[in-house]
Symmetry: C2
Amino acid sequence: MGAIEDYLKKTQPLVDKEIEKVFPKKIGKKWLEFALDKADFAYDEETITKSAAEPIWEFLNRGGKRWRPALTILSCEAVGGKKELALKMTPLIELVHEGTIMADDLEDNSQTRRGKPCTHLLYGNDIAINDGNLMYFAPLTLLYKNPYKLSEKQVRKIYDLYGKEMIRVSIGQAMDIYWHKGSKTSISEKEYLQMCSYKTGVLARFAAKLGAILGNAKPEQEKALGKFAETIGIAFQIQDDILNLVGEEFQKGKGVGEDIHEGKRTIMALHALQHAGEAEKTRLIEILNSHPASQETINEAIEIIKKNGSIEYAKEKAKTLVKQAWKKLNPVLKESTAKKTLKDFADYLIERKI
Amino acid sequence: MGAIEDYLKKTQPLVDKEIEKVFPKKIGKKWLEFALDKADFAYDEETITKSAAEPIWEFLNRGGKRWRPALTILSCEAVGGKKELALKMTPLIELVHEGTIMADDLEDNSQTRRGKPCTHLLYGNDIAINDGNLMYFAPLTLLYKNPYKLSEKQVRKIYDLYGKEMIRVSIGQAMDIYWHKGSKTSISEKEYLQMCSYKTGVLARFAAKLGAILGNAKPEQEKALGKFAETIGIAFQIQDDILNLVGEEFQKGKGVGEDIHEGKRTIMALHALQHAGEAEKTRLIEILNSHPASQETINEAIEIIKKNGSIEYAKEKAKTLVKQAWKKLNPVLKESTAKKTLKDFADYLIERKI
């Protein structure tokens, strides 16, 4: 466990340095002319810095584990590719991810992120939406300017991957939003896992496949790495949901039970709804649909979930999914430090306490 | 004038049919498996339809001129390409455009769009943000699935174009947002035109360049078509701003003077601020920064703008810009019906009353 934390701690500042190359903290003519060509009229660098670079970097500087970039680097290394190249391309995955959570916060009407007020509360909805979008696109300079001389085939594969995964992310989010409006009465576990796969698994898969493409992986390696990463993304989401309900340290972040307040149909809520008696089931639906603000009501829902063994069930589910994906990945990768770290990585994400 | 309106009226339903192929009104397994592969777990088509397809089609069905797709088709034809292929690829430009206006409405906190309540008011902020994003990505199936067998080179060029133009759109919007917060005291006309070029010109350029690429245009044709379209995009925006202040029929839509309410630094506001006396200038800034709701105060600002000849100035500016761009386009295109229509098109967009 400590080893992975160390690994992430070492990787994070390196990733952030690459992000800064792709989207600087201060926007000047140099970046604008590189990314967008010379101005036809006149650039206003100060405005662009204030309206885009500052809010985005305020957000990035709050931290975050940067575990998706780590997946890119490890996947590239595990197929024999160069970690330096993978590192340089990580902004493509991390900026997109950060963009989705900036948007998520606004969509969920969240108050805090990483211990600070959400971007829409600090800078306004307009800036949060627009800068979230900008983060989806800004790293595309890594493809259309191709500064690291990827092959035509690599660029095309990464573009294709980007297109498909971005649609999946939006579709996953569409499902999540619709469900926690309480608009659908019964959701199956498979549907839930599909949503998770698209909402959270997808960017992990994107990260791993990006690394595989950069390392010129064999098709079966790329596929298995993608699937493994997707699965640890799902497991990460499940663990996130668990911590949201019972995490001791979670108070520092989003607030315990915010998912109940948002009415989220997590795998635990679904399991509890399936296994609780009639009265408890009715009460849990009632609470989820009422989007309660009172901690007492939220705790009541958490109790119903705990009582039905749903937390333990979710933990087991996460472990099983990862185990299955590892079984498919293991035989297609030669032994290496990167391979070993990938395995530890999955365990770390499932076991983490924060 | 009538001819262009007829042309657009004929083109619109054809474009919408292509959009429907790319993103259907009802999401079923067929589309999901085509665009996103077979589900690892299970799709919930009903939820995806309700949460994504319905709000998006409710929005698309309100109308809109579809003039950007028309630019794609005409540009392709004008360089000797096939209009059938161009038509099939138009969802790439139109869906992206519609996505930006769904997001804009939320960012500007607008109330109505095309005579109906904005999407965020009908379906909630979460759905409006997410579906706006989905519209940016959904048409990428036209590239990564490549159903119309474009060449490798064409696909790459269109991806590259997409990347760059999407960053430009976000940067243009970032400027516009920051300015109408009143956060910058003096904006030059060149900076304003740059913002316009990025916010509105860019998707017109994208449209024309898309057509040019599909028609295998020569580099100088692609460039001149892009510039011409960008310019008519800017002119369209200027005309939009003019109509917002003095358009007789505008009541049906956004409401007269909403730009004043939003504090927008339009080219007219900038011109008036430059030419008005001290007292009027101070008053106009005061009004723009106060985001007035009262029609009386809004009218006061419009009067200051009118009095300083700023509406006439804006009209002239739009015409001059288009004239200059046409001068560069004219010599690189052979005479053709498409070329003639392109010219008429520009005149139509500048002269339009609604």
